[in-house]
């Protein structure tokens, strides 16, 4: 017998269930869709820790208008969200798990070690929206003023300023 024929004899087919092909297709199409999404590469993404990410995402949307980027959500099989990204204009912020990367939520840490300022087109309208959603106001806007500060669901401090005041010199 020729060596190739002997090798041929060792060929053995593995039986697989038809569902394997369907699972493979579903996984591939999910990967393709992910790939097809428009992407951006922000140079800096602030990452904020929360004890309850689900509650934080809901609050940030209702009060401040930060929208979750749906495909960014990292969720475990048990439904616990570990991380997500929210966007506002061209800004992106990471909403992460408290304790991960050494970051602590002000709710348990007891201090705010930083605040983030966000440019908005209409400070008064934004303030009314935050107020209606139950945000704690840390610094009221002055009459006719162009800035206010609010605390979110876990005490992170946000400063909202009129977009005109957000200009950064180029040099």
């Amino acid at each position: 017998m020729k060596p190739v024929d002997l090798a041929k004899k060792l060929r053995r087919d593995a039986a697989f269930e038809p569902a394997v092909l369907d699972r493979g297709k579903a996984a591939l199409m999910a990967a393709i869709q992910q790939e097809a999404l428009p992407t951006r590469r922000p140079i800096i993404i602030p990452q904020l820790p929360y004890a309850d990410i689900r509650a934080a995402l809901s609050f940030l949307e209702r009060a401040f208008g930060f929208r979750e980027i749906p495909s960014s959500r990292m969720q475990a099989a048990d439904g616990v969200i570990h991380h997500a990204l929210v966007e506002f204009g061209d800004g992106v912020i990471g909403i992460g798990t408290q304790g991960a990367h050494g970051a602590v939520s002000p709710q348990s840490g007891g201090i705010e070690s930083q605040y983030i300022s966000v440019a908005v087109a209409d400070v008064q309208a934004h303030y009314q929206r935050a107020l209606a959603a139950g945000a704690r106001i840390a610094k009221e806007p002055r009459p006719g003023g162009h800035a206010y500060e609010a605390l979110d669901s876990e005490g992170h401090r946000w400063r909202f300023v009129h977009e005109r005041l957000r200009e950064v010199p180029t040099r």
């Binding site: 060596p3 190739v4 060792l10 053995r12 697989f16 990967a31 393709i32 869709q33």
Partner: protein, 188 residues
């Protein structure tokens, strides 16, 4: 309804990524069987996913004038398999054991059965010890029954190189299976 050749579909998938799903529909069953033969059904399921994800990411490099993407996909599959040499070796040995054990046979056939018991594990070992490029060429040719041109395309080699690798693989197998100066060779 005429269906567009693979090259055209892959070309279209550059601007319209979902079109790549058709390449999966056309070739996934063949490649799943290919991977299954080499590493078994359980490992193959994961590998077929890896294979198509790599293919999708590299679709720009596919020569759109080719009508059939199968040899190219075999090539990606061969690379994916390299990382799973242990599973492959296990399966090959199991196949050899199964063949060698064979069903009980009558007396006349028992000599052949004895031969097989010795021979198949030896062939399996021989295939396993072939250098990767030779083993790959041999199995694409003998198990997948790809013609030389397709093996060459899959391994991105000139056809002459495929021929010489196959010849080397054959010679090595012959050597390993029939050590010089043993039994059946003496008569020659």
């Amino acid at each position: 309804m005429s269906s567009p050749p693979d090259g055209e579909v892959i070309g279209r998938s550059l601007g319209e990524p979902e079109a790549f799903g058709l390449i999966y529909d056309r070739h996934a069953p063949t490649l799943l069987r290919f991977l299954g033969r080499r590493v078994g059904a359980r490992v193959a399921e994961g590998l077929v996913g890896e294979l198509f994800r790599i293919a999708f990411e590299r679709r720009e490099t596919f020569d759109a004038s080719r009508t059939n993407a199968l040899p190219w996909l075999y090539g990606i599959g061969s690379n994916v398999l390299l990382k799973h040499r242990r599973a492959e070796a296990r399966r090959l040995r199991a196949s050899a054991r199964m063949l060698a054990a064979g069903p009980a046979v009558d007396r006349r056939a028992s000599a052949a059965a004895l031969d097989a018991r010795v021979l198949f594990p030896r062939v399996a070992d021989a295939i396993e010890t072939l250098p990767d490029p030779e083993r790959e060429a041999l199995l694409l040719f003998a198990w997948e029954e790809l013609p030389y041109e397709a093996v060459a395309e899959a391994l991105e080699l000139p056809i002459g190189t495929v021929r010489s690798r196959l010849n080397r693989a054959r010679a090595r197998l012959r050597e390993l299976i029939e050590p010089k100066g043993k039994g059946r060779n003496r008569r020659r």
